[in-house]
């Protein structure tokens, strides 16, 4: 579920790699913005055709006739395609901004509710321009977003990059560039190359650096998952171990009879191991089929968590428990099961080896 939060943040906010002025993190003012032309040109030299999204960010106010709220203005290059996919997918009402739209804005449904406005409503946005003057612009709400991201849904107002640059009297200025490379397994190399190209005054970092809490959250969730999976597998292993061990120990007297009748120890040992393996594998197959059916069912009919309120959604989580069927699960189960079976079989085998037929016949 943390994965969904991270994916949400990447797709609808920062991208996989974030490039910004080094000082922008601590002082999010226009004076710490980047020059669009030279910056994008240098970035292009490194990344080629990799999709990127240049954004201009500025703190401001949004007002209706009756109320107002502090927000973050986000100027986007509306001609972008893949980079705006996440935001486009979040549109729940109205239409997305057209590239030549110099009046329209997109706001989160949550912000719209706070302001008490709907599609088509007229609003005023205010901010401080680069030269320190207070500027304002009348805009209309074109669409409402539901991004499952509190920052997007209740704090952001999206508009065209040109529109915002004009409002802030800062032509050619951008605050951030987000990159969306096709391969995300070599982000560190990309960051290193970009850092070299862009110099000291520009910070280049992956989403993990930009959203450290999410990265830690993901790491912690991985650890929690590992612990939970380990406990589950341990329980499965102990369960199998217990069943096979008990079933074998219950039959020690029977093995004693076989020994007394002249059955070689090696034959009884093989019998115990073979029976344990058959018992385990039959259980494995039944369990695997049953588990797969359950997983498939919950894949088609996800367990809906929205009944517990908007909590998960507020944190950017998908409002249902995701299911996945990976071959790896079956392999892990198979290995643990085989291991548990062999250990559980080895105990009666060992006991039998130590006992003579008389002791085996009296074994309780």
């Amino acid at each position: 579920m943390v994965e969904s939060i991270v994916e949400n943040a990447i797709e609808k906010d920062c991208g996989y790699v974030v490039i910004e002025n080094t000082a922008f993190r601590d002082d999010r003012t226009l004076s710490n913005s980047l020059e669009s032309g030279p910056t994008l040109s240098k970035i292009s030299k490194v990344i080629g055709e990799t999709p990127l999204l240049a954004r201009l960010l500025c703190q401001g106010l949004i007002q209706t006739a009756l109320s107002g709220k502090g927000i973050e203005l986000v100027g986007l290059n509306l001609s972008n395609g893949r980079e705006l996919r996440g935001l486009r997918e979040s549109l729940v009402e109205g239409s997305f901004l057209k590239s030549d739209d110099s009046r329209g804005v997109l706001i989160g449904r949550s912000l719209a509710n706070d302001l008490g406005v709907q599609i088509g409503a007229k609003l005023v946005i205010r901010a401080q321009s680069l030269d320190g003057e207070l500027t304002a612009s009348a805009v209309r709400v074109r669409g409402l977003l539901d991004a499952s991201n509190p920052r997007v849904d209740s704090m952001s107002v999206f508009l065209g990059l040109d529109h915002l640059q004009a409002l802030l009297k800062s032509p050619g200025k951008i605050s951030q560039v987000g990159l969306f490379p096709a391969r995300v397994d070599q982000l560190d190399i990309l960051v290193e190359k970009l850092s070299l190209e862009l110099g000291d005054k520009v910070r280049v970092e992956t989403w993990e650096g930009y959203y450290p809490a999410f990265a830690i959250g993901e790491e912690m969730m991985d650890m929690v998952n590992l612990i939970l999976v380990s406990i589950a597998f341990l329980a499965v292993g102990l369960g199998v171990f217990d069943v096979i061990l008990i079933s074998m120990l219950d039959r020690m007297r029977e093995f004693g009879i076989l020994l007394a009748l002249g059955t070689p120890y090696s034959k009884i040992r093989n019998l115990i191991v073979l029976e344990g393996l058959i018992l385990g594998f039959v259980g494995y197959v039944i369990g695997a089929i049953g588990g797969s059916i359950l997983l498939w069912y919950f894949h088609i009919n996800p367990m809906d968590l929205s009944v517990f309120g908007n909590g998960p959604k507020t944190f950017g989580m998908i409002p249902y428990i995701p299911t996945a069927i990976h071959l790896e699960y079956y392999l892990r189960c198979f290995i643990i099961l085989t291991f548990a079976m062999l250990i559980s079989c080895s105990i009666p085998v060992y006991i039998l080896k130590k006992l003579n037929p008389v002791q085996s016949l009296r074994f309780v």
């Binding site: 007394a260 002249g262 070689p264 120890y265 003579n356 008389v358």
Partner: protein, 230 residues
């Protein structure tokens, strides 16, 4: 002709923290081939232990056992297992049939281990089951048979392994008098018609009455005739 001989046979149970218990004490015994001998004595006199030692189910603490010319103490586990398979037939007090096998499978089990062909096995099973009156029970599981029926299956199993000797430990202990008599008559008949050697441990008067040689045990020792008469 002597089939079984024990020399100064001893079995001492020496559990940690407990006083060592001598279950079999310097037993010298001779059993003739084709005999129908009974080991008699009160409970705890060492009858079962002695039978277990003779049958290679347990190892003696000291002394020697020679059965059909084979000295048991020199045998390794694997050889001892083979000895039990080929030379000894067991009839236990608690029947000890394999619970998951039918009567037929129980009877056949020893022969399968011995590598007897299927056709010969079928022939032998049919023959012995008719003689012991269990031919209609062959497809039953042990849990579906009475004690007497189970014990007859156990005798059939012991017999068909073609052993040198059949060791029967209290075979009538769990049977009523009618079934006890039937079983004993059957064993006696097998002894007389086939020359099968029987060594039976029991304190059942009926068994003693039908026996040939009687060997009396007390406190792990074999009593001689003079001692017996007292």
């Amino acid at each position: 002709m002597c089939l079984l001989e024990t020399l100064n046979l001893c079995k001492v149970y020496d559990a940690k923290g407990l006083i060592p218990l001598t279950a079999v004490d310097s037993v010298n015994l001779r059993v003739e081939r084709g005999s129908f001998s009974v080991l008699s004595g009160p409970s705890g006199s060492g009858k079962t232990t002695l039978l277990n030692l003779i049958g290679g189910l347990d190892r003696p603490s000291s002394g020697a056992i020679t059965l059909a010319g084979q000295e048991l103490s020199s045998l390794q586990e694997k050889e001892l297992s083979s000895f039990r398979l080929h030379s000894v037939g067991f009839v236990f007090q608690a029947y000890n049939l394999v619970p998951v096998l039918t009567a037929r499978e129980n009877i056949e089990y020893v022969m399968i281990l011995q590598g007897v062909s299927e056709s010969l096995r079928n022939e032998k099973v049919q023959d012995v089951s008719k003689r012991l009156g269990i031919h209609e029970l062959l497809d039953r599981m042990p849990s579906e048979m009475s004690g007497g029926q189970q014990q007859r299956v156990a005798v059939a199993r012991a017999l068909l392994g073609d052993p040198e000797i059949i060791l029967a430990d209290e075979p009538t202990a769990n049977l009523d008098s009618h079934n006890s008599r039937l079983l004993l008559e059957m064993m006696r008949e097998l002894n007389e018609t086939q020359g099968t050697t029987f060594l039976i441990s029991s304190h059942d008067p009926m068994v003693l009455e039908m026996s040939g040689e009687k060997i009396l045990l007390r406190d792990g020792k074999v009593l001689d005739e003079a001692q017996t008469s007292h």
